[in-house]
Symmetry: C2
Amino acid sequence: MATTPRSRRDRPAKPALSREAIVAAALEIAAEEGVEAVTMRRLAQALDTGPASLYVYVAGREALEELMLETAAGEVEVEETDPERWREQLHSLLERMGRMMSERYPGMAKLGMARIPVGDNVMRITESMLSLLKAGGASDQAAAYAGDILSMYVGAIAYEQSLYAQPADDPEAIGAEHERIHRAFVAADPGRYPTVAALGPAMVRGDGHERFRLGIDVIINGLIATPMDGRLSEPPAALGDEEVWPPDAPKG
Amino acid sequence: MATTPRSRRDRPAKPALSREAIVAAALEIAAEEGVEAVTMRRLAQALDTGPASLYVYVAGREALEELMLETAAGEVEVEETDPERWREQLHSLLERMGRMMSERYPGMAKLGMARIPVGDNVMRITESMLSLLKAGGASDQAAAYAGDILSMYVGAIAYEQSLYAQPADDPEAIGAEHERIHRAFVAADPGRYPTVAALGPAMVRGDGHERFRLGIDVIINGLIATPMDGRLSEPPAALGDEEVWPPDAPKG
DNA sequence: GTACGGAACGAACATCGTTCGTGTCAAGGT
DNA sequence: ACCTTGACACGAACGATGTTCGTTCCGTAC
């Protein structure tokens, strides 16, 4: 390596390690090379120290990921709710969320799905989302449920996007992945998979942005069109039924 | 260790390694200890051999995961479409998918989301799903799109479930995770997050199964209620627009 | 001036996926 | 009956990961 072999101890002056500086450096790496590139060693190297030093401020990798996600969530802009433009504002908010998790910090979506984040900055976004849904006339129950499903939708789309837009070290690979999917659906065997073969062209139509916006409208319209009465009713449903799936969910 | 120190070479007779045997052993481990527990070493140990031997039949870990997912997909039962009961059959199919990915093989959902699977067994499920949607009267475009979003929904739910139902080595941790989420939403600061605080009780209401089924109906009803005309239209939308998100998706 | 305590560090450990070179064994040709 | 060959299996090792241990440094309070 070209680095000076002398010990780092007698270097002139370091910017003083801190939790904020560590997270900032981690996000910088994530922005440039993707979240996957953020390892404890790589991060320590960027801060001109060793991996062990990080553990003074961060409990471990998992805690670091949580801090990264929470800090990145703080960069997502949140407008004040204008009831007249609730649907437009909701689309816009979800789009910013998706951009943050797949464009600004490639691979961040994975961190968002690996846990259920409850930090202040994330809560800020949730608050805005729920406020917009209420402005749209949703019932409490519908709005609450939409918060869940919309977050999940954005995260899943962003994650899927990050599968294609991997680090730009091999631009050809992207096309190859597209090609693989395309062929599988369009050229499906009409004998065994008649419906897939018939719908193949329809499945690969439209660009990502169009599909993303459409999906959001589908969910919103679905919530409006689906009666909630008698479902998600007041008393928590009886538990202990082994046959239902998913078996459980956060509740009181 | 308590194992015999003598070389494995002079053991009586081994069941002859094969790709099928490897995948079967991997799924057995996944069923008992979760997908995370399937490492090349652990898998080799279960087959009474070394890690290197696996690479004769399986290209690597990624290829193994693909084989596991595809083989597990083969265990998902698929009914013949009965147009009269399309919605019921669709619910049932999605539920079986979810169960496979979170109950039968905990953690399998992660594998399903890490790539877009196109194997025969997965295609079999897609075929059934699309067939049911067509039986429900969906347009080609709506059915094709629903296939996407419903798969994503099931995968995301199953993945979220696997976050709670980790390996049963610490039953207390599950309750703790519930507790963490519950507190965050129900006891949110009404000053900063008024809507979250107001909707907190609604957000944690209902059990998982109820929410799962409701989500499916929301998507189905949303597809019915959302006009597709002029959206996802015939000619692929113009590309090269840097401002749209997601930037791209598999298409012709 | 000195002792204390947190911060930083070098080295190491355990585990992971993967590769290399060699050993083994059975089938097939001579 | 012997030899050759080639695919398979294996032990050992490599590089990279997250994490921990014991020590060293340095600023600060006494």
